[in-house]
């Protein structure tokens, strides 16, 4: 028999620490009591995966392959050779990669499937450029913008998952990234179109975004406001 010197409660014989206050139990001189067979077992209930990955990949394969084949057949049989159906096939391929990539591997490795998603997007843009024969826009314009957007999403998701930011800092970070991303997009668009950068629409987006971010960061410093918002929105 042992008692917690801090709480004053009697503790079960097999406890090494008081569950209420974490105070170490000093082993008593008397011999340990016999177990009453009522202790907790060591093994844990492990949750079964409620999501069937194989079924999902099969379903998404059928859902994307069927319209792809149908549009290809319509384009081939009723049009002048293969023309517009390729865009739909590329887009459906991109949808397949985005939906299936998180479940292609045994372990959910976020950077890996996110890199695959970004690579698929860039490949899609290059294929559209090549098929449409509308000039050289994928490398100087689409790829840098796609990479920037992908990098921003990656930063956001990684930061949220690592719990480096909390509560109102999360929407503030989204606003900051939008404020940074828009001028960069405008730089690439201007350089592609006129070979020179002239600040325009992106400034009008960036200023309100930075203002919103500042407001949220100021509010975050007042815990009672955060608590009230948390109660209102139940987050």
């Amino acid at each position: 028999m042992a008692y917690c010197v801090n709480c004053g409660v009697k503790l079960k014989a097999d406890l090494k620490k008081c569950p209420l206050c974490d105070t170490d139990v000093i082993p008593p001189v008397s011999p340990p009591e016999e177990s009453d067979c009522s202790g907790f077992p060591p093994q844990k209930h492990e949750p079964t995966a409620s999501f069937d990955k194989d079924l999902w990949i099969k379903l998404i394969s059928v859902i994307t392959a069927a319209p792809a084949l149908l549009t290809f057949a319509i384009d081939y049989l009723m049009g002048n050779g293969i023309d517009w159906s390729l865009y739909i096939i590329y887009a459906l391929g991109l949808v397949w990669v985005w939906c299936a990539s998180p479940f292609l591997f045994k372990r959910n490795i976020f950077p890996l499937w996110f890199a695959i998603d970004a690579a698929a997007l860039i490949a899609f843009l290059f294929l559209v450029e090549r098929t449409s024969k509308t000039g050289n826009w994928a490398l100087p314009l689409a790829m840098p913008i796609a990479l920037m957007v992908a990098a921003s999403v990656f930063i956001l998701v990684s930061t949220f998952r690592s719990k480096l930011v909390r509560q109102l800092q999360k929407p503030a970070l989204i606003f900051i990234l939008i404020a940074v991303l828009c001028p960069l997009i405008e730089v690439f668009v201007d350089l592609y179109r006129a070979q020179q950068y002239r600040p325009g629409w992106s400034v009008l987006v960036a200023i309100p975004c930075l203002a919103f971010a500042a407001i949220l960061l100021i509010l975050q410093r007042r815990q009672w406001i955060v608590d009230e918002l948390r109660h209102w929105f139940r987050y």
């Binding site: 009697k10 503790l11 620490k17 209420l20 009453d36 067979c37 009522s38 949750p47 109660h231």
Partner: protein, 428 residues
């Protein structure tokens, strides 16, 4: 024996009023599962338990059901499949998934001398679950060669099931009752660092019932009223230690067994809830004042007329024509949202007292103890379940946060009142 026709007649069960909400709000963080367990004097033989469970499931077919989704409502369908029995675990009351449990809505676990029943709340309430467990334990003991008579909640597995046992008693009890408008603003919420979703921290305190009764009697209260007042007092003290910008009312939800007010043999859900609380903005409350307030409030609220009014309000929601014609896939998120906005926000914690567990004397001598555990939930961080057996009161706190402040204050308060408390926990 159950005839084929009887079995066919029972193959489909409509949800009762309380059951509608649980499948809609169920998820990993809110499994809607509770547990009752019996610890016997001898180690459990799984083979014998298997046979006893088969017989019990046949006797109580309302528990041998699987959840099915209809176009407008969920429903239960009777199943002749064998419910798997499982070894007990450190983290009980986790979500019962269709894949893991073959579609059944209950689990039977065993460990050393213990038989535990974990049950999804849509199926039954604590009283119904306790009758199932007592019948299962009695059947197990019978199979082990001990003569156990029926009575005191032990059903005879040789008899066939009665239709009344699976009846929905809410409608006959409260159908057509006048509905009183009640508004409960949000209450103070216990906060803390969350533990991983698939963990649960249980702290069990055992206290002598007689000492507890004397203590409660000294303030003219019942044990439930005294324990509820203690919980309110402690949660209010926690709020006062770090007062928020605006003080919030502290409320504790107390389930009420409606069987005491309506003659029914149902084993399904038949309980209501009362939120009893205090308003800290009115000033400082002494513990004695809180006990008096809880005592009077419960005495005022727990009567047939007001309980019928409460149940009628829930029944009315179910009868709203718009809600009835909305397909289930739209109804589920609507119910979930409605619950999130109006449900757990209105109380700070729950205390559920199953009362003194009674059973035939022949069964009692083979049983060491009974426990009652409420499942962890993300919305209500700390819950308390109470059950009395053989002169001891088992008080089990379930929490989903790291901080043990509430139960520590609770049990040390009892120690300060001169009540000996023995503590155990599932913490590694």
């Amino acid at each position: 024996m159950v005839t084929k026709n009887q079995s066919k007649a029972r193959s489909y069960f409509r949800f009762d009023n309380a059951a509608h909400i649980y499948p809609a709000i169920k998820n990993r963080k809110q499994p809607g599962v509770f547990r009752v367990s019996a610890t016997l004097t001898d180690p459990i033989d799984p083979q014998v338990l298997r046979q006893a469970l088969n017989k019990t499931m046949k006797r109580i077919p309302g528990f041998s059901v699987k959840l099915r989704k209809g176009l407008f409502w969920n429903y239960f369908i009777h199943s002749e499949d064998e419910l798997p029995i499982q070894p007990d675990v450190l983290n009980p009351c986790m979500e019962i998934t269709r894949k893991e449990n073959d579609g059944f809505l209950l689990r039977v676990r065993y460990h050393q001398c213990r038989i535990a029943l974990e049950i999804f709340h849509a199926l039954a309430d604590g009283s119904g679950a306790m009758i199932f467990l007592k019948t299962l334990v009695a059947e197990y003991l019978k199979q082990m060669g001990h003569p156990i008579p029926t009575g005191n909640g032990v059903l005879d597995c040789a008899e066939s099931a009665k239709p009344e046992e699976m009846a929905d008693s809410f409608r006959p009890f409260a159908g057509g009752a006048h509905i009183l408008k009640r508004e409960e603003p949000r209450a103070y919420q216990i906060t803390g660092d969350p533990i991983p979703t698939h963990d649960v921290i249980l702290t069990r305190g055992t206290v002598p019932v007689e000492d507890m009764r004397k203590l409660a009697k000294s303030l003219d209260a019942s044990i439930t009223e005294y324990l509820t007042a203690m919980l309110l007092y402690i949660i209010n003290c926690q709020q006062m230690q770090a007062p928020p910008h605006r003080l919030l009312p502290v409320r504790v939800q107390v389930p009420v067994n409606l069987r005491a007010f309506f003659n029914t043999e149902t084993l399904r859900n038949f309980s209501s809830f009362i939120n009893v609380g205090l308003e800290p903005r009115l000033g400082d409350f002494t513990f004695e004042e809180i006990v008096c307030q809880v005592h009077n409030y419960l005495r005022y609220e727990v009567n047939e007329k007001l309980l019928r009014s409460r149940v009628a309000a829930n029944l009315r929601t179910e009868s709203i024509p718009f809600l009835r014609i909305v397909p289930l896939f739209l109804k589920t998120p609507m119910i979930s949202l409605g619950y999130k906005l109006a449900g757990p926000n209105t109380f700070s914690s729950i205390i559920s007292n199953l009362g003194n567990v009674e059973m035939p004397e022949e069964m009692e001598k083979h049983t060491q103890r009974f426990d009652f555990i409420l499942g962890a939930s993300n919305d209500t961080k700390v819950k308390c379940a109470v059950a009395g057996f053989k002169g001891n009161l088992s008080i089990i706190f379930t929490r989903s946060i790291k901080e043990a402040d509430i139960e520590r204050a609770f049990f040390t308060f009892l120690v300060e009142q001169g009540i000996p408390v023995e503590i155990e926990s599932n913490q590694e």
